[in-house]
């Protein structure tokens, strides 16, 4: 590589690094200006405290919560909270019936809704519907006595025979303004249901559940495509059923097409309220229906997440929502940082001792890596809701080691190449090629760990995986776009190129053996056979034959198999 091209490639790398910094700082500035962004990362529950929400089950008279139901609810709520960002919430049970959710910061209404609502989804056929008008002055329709035995058995879920006189009376008396859906979770799926639409505008008598939310295998939010395939501005939730659900759904829709009037409608019931009741225009055979019904982007996403993770086995209501202080507090963080700083100073001393002025490159690189990590974390904190916990801080401190390792691998490679008698410039070039390969392979392992743990794990583990992923990527960026170009440029200075004693790259000190005009001894050849422990310099200057003779004489130290 020509000299000028080295400078060019080095400067190009540094410019790229500058671009990355500019994007991060710019993005961050934008977040600060637009929303409640900040120049410092947000801290997690353990360091900063947050809000403790106690959820109390909504139980009908005489009902109780089982341990399994509670454990299941905790797992589902945790997944829901996780899905809203990397906030490391704490979810636990209290007194065998309440659920305590602690989240950093102040939760808004949407977050509370996301956590609390049970998200029990049912598909029921519509039997009767009407505009809900409730006249408080009107005499309530009298509920008749038990229907006579032997009423006609309904043939299917759409059969109007489901409507008994009692049900009809209940329907007539229904006041959508005061509809209490606490019973919705326990509503018998094999019985018809009297309920209202979510906005209270319509009331319904619905048939038994045809397809339940448990048959949903996936749910995502998105814009609903119009008839021409162009997406409209309407948000909806796209559902994917498993095999059973697909089959059930096909059977139902095939039956409903043929039915007249409102019986053609299919009610989508969420937590006991009808969120929409579309007409059945075609049989849905692929098991991928979509739900529409006055969603905003946010509410569609919340419902999508809720459906994906499943319905809570019981409904909950917020008993209390109070601020809570940190369990560890900033003193822990400060002491940790002080201790880490002392460790870092030791790292600097050690690097300078080991690599002389080259050690300064390590120090600079680590500093740049730290600043980059800081901005990445701050940016993700603003954009993704990432929160830095004490475990995260510890992860960052360990990252010092892994990041420094990349430099060490690179430096040792340069020294190896120098030992083989190359010039500094070609040493750097050859060393980079090999070192980068090693760095890529080892970072790939860390990155796979980060991605797999992030995608599959929940709770604290996810936060850890996030930190690991960030530091791994930062490591790669720094070594490729900062350390390498810096070394390339330094390698051209007289100080380093001449192999100054203090440069850390002195070929003589590195034992490069001069063999005559511009030719150094190939050290591979030497190392191949030199296994003897005694004597170093003298040994290395022996002829190969001498050495062999010695080995045969039984002076080998072992190792040959």
């Amino acid at each position: 590589m020509a000299r000028s091209s080295i400078v060019r490639s080095a400067s190009r790398a540094l410019v790229w690094l500058g671009v990355i910094f500019a994007i991060l700082i710019g993005g961050n500035a934008l977040a600060v200006v637009n929303e409640e962004g900040s120049w410092t990362p947000k801290l997690a529950l353990d360091l900063q405290g947050g809000t403790q929400i106690i959820l109390e089950p909504r139980l009908a008279e005489g009902q109780s919560v089982s341990e399994e139901q509670l454990a299941q609810a905790v797992a589902i709520i945790r997944q829901r909270v996780d899905a809203s960002g990397v906030a490391e919430a704490e979810v636990t049970t209290q007194g065998g019936q309440n659920i305590v959710v602690s989240i950093p910061g102040e939760p808004d209404q949407a977050t509370l809704e996301r956590i609390r609502s049970s998200a029990k989804l049912e598909f029921r056929p519509v039997l009767v519907t009407d505009i809900a008008v409730f006249d408080p002055a009107a005499e309530p329709v009298e509920v008749p006595e038990d229907a006579e035995e032997g009423a006609i058995e309904p043939a299917n879920a759409s059969d109007l025979a489901w409507i008994t006189p009692q049900l009809d009376a209940e329907y007539q008396n229904l006041n959508c303004m005061v509809l209490d859906t606490s019973g919705a979770n326990v509503a018998d799926p094999t019985k018809p249901l009297v309920t209202c639409s979510a906005d209270g505008g319509f009331k319904y008598i619905l048939g038994p559940v045809e397809v339940g939310g448990e048959s949903i295998s996936d749910a995502t939010a998105g814009l609903i495509p119009g008839p021409t395939g162009v997406s409209t501005n309407e948000w909806g939730v796209f559902i994917e059923f498993d095999a059973t659900g697909t089959e059930q759904f096909r059977d139902v829709t095939e039956r409903l097409i043929a039915l007249p009037g409102v019986q053609n409608q299919f009610a989508i019931v969420l937590d006991g309220r009808v969120i929409s009741a579309p007409r059945t225009l075609a049989a849905i055979t692929d098991g991928r229906p979509q739900i529409s019904g006055s969603f905003t982007q946010e509410s569609a996403q919340v419902l999508g997440d809720q459906l994906k993770f499943g319905a809570l086995p019981i409904g909950f209501q917020v008993q209390s929502s109070e601020t809570i202080t940190a369990t560890l507090g900033l003193s822990q963080l400060q002491s940790g940082l002080i201790a880490g700083l002392i460790g870092l100073i030791l790292v600097v001393v050690y690097s300078l001792f080991q690599y002389r002025l080259l050690g300064l490159v390590t120090v600079f690189s680590l500093t740049v890596a730290f600043v980059l990590s800081y901005f990445v974390i701050t940016y993700l904190s603003n954009a993704q809701g990432y929160r830095l916990s004490l475990a995260g801080v510890a992860g960052l401190i360990v990252a010092i080691g892994i990041t420094a390792d990349s430099f060490i691998v690179f430096f040792e490679r340069i020294r190896d190449e120098l030992r083989d008698g190359r010039t500094l410039e070609s040493s750097i070039q050859a060393a980079w090629k090999r070192a980068f390969r090693t760095i890529l392979a080892s970072d790939a392992v860390s990155f796979i760990a980060a991605v797999v743990l992030y995608v599959l794990a929940v709770g604290n583990v996810r936060g850890f995986a996030f930190t690991l992923g960030v530091t791994t990527v930062v490591d790669l960026i720094i070594v490729a776009l900062f350390t390498h170009p810096l070394i390339q440029l330094l390698g051209r200075t007289r100080f380093f190129a001449s192999g100054h004693r203090l440069s850390g790259l002195d070929p003589k000190a590195l034992g490069a053996v001069y063999r005559g005009r511009a030719k150094f001894r190939d050290s591979d050849e030497v190392s191949a056979i030199a296994k003897s422990k005694s004597g170093r310099e003298a040994k290395r200057r022996q002829s190969i034959a001498e050495r062999k003779a010695q080995e045969d004489a039984g002076m080998t130290s072992g190792g040959a198999q």
Partner: protein, 332 residues
Amino acid sequence: MSMLTRFGNDLYTGARSFDFVGRRVLWYLVGAGLVLAAIVITTLRGGFVFGIEFRGGSEFRVSNPSAVVEQVATDTVNELVGAGSNPRVSIVGGDSIRVQTEQLTTEETELLRAELATDYDVPVNEVTSSFIGATWGQDITVQALRALAVFLVLVSLVMAAYFRTWKMSLAAMTALIHDLAITAGVYGVLGFEITPAAVIGFLTILGYSLYDTVVVFDKVRENTSEDGEESARTFAESVNLAVNQTLVRSINTSVVAVLPVAGILFIGSLLLGAGTLRDIALALFIGIIAGTYSTIFIAAPMYVHLRENEPEAKKQGRRREQVQRPASGAVR
């Protein structure tokens, strides 16, 4: 130049060489011994001690205390339940104290309630108690283990593809199990509580151990593949040389990685006593050392063990025997 530089030179050329591969039976025995000791002593001690985040515990709430400070509760619990019980104390809603401790018996609960009431100067009925479940519940553990299994399989496959042999994957995984067993063993043997912070520490070690092994194996791959059949070195010698050549890197890296952790562990613990930082730093301190050690003393020798009887590998180094024969004869 520092001694380590000269040391590095000698290791690189082979003028000085440590026989990591040749004495592998010894290293295997040492490793197996340590792992066995970790398991046996931990079992004899009655298994791991898990923190309240895993087991759940008791919760107390002091309403409207005379002074809304956390320290009083910490001291009270430490006094009553025993030092090092590490209660989690926080202020809820600005006017009450929440104290979480390990699970207490009914008598202990009543005692602590009374004590907290006295110390905070409130009537006993202002101190409520209840049981809390685990914040790190079964579901997190199950999910984390599943993720771990997927990760290990995936990394084994990636390593096998990158190094073109599954034997390196196997050797690396063995070293990994060794590291995790020893790190967890330290907690088991010393009876330290396993907290979520410690688990995060174990996970970090998992990554570090594999990372370290990949770096050294990359040099091994380079040496063994470059040598080929024509080499004068046997396969074992090639691997041993690679380990020696990366020895200075291994020492430097582990020193650099361990220094900040040691800072947290020793200085931080002195400043703070037991806590999240100590939990995580201890796991990291032991794990980083074990990770570096096991790459050199277990992963590399094991790789040789797995490979050296392959016909390909056997061919390596034959040439030397042929070359050597005349050397020992009279013709020169």
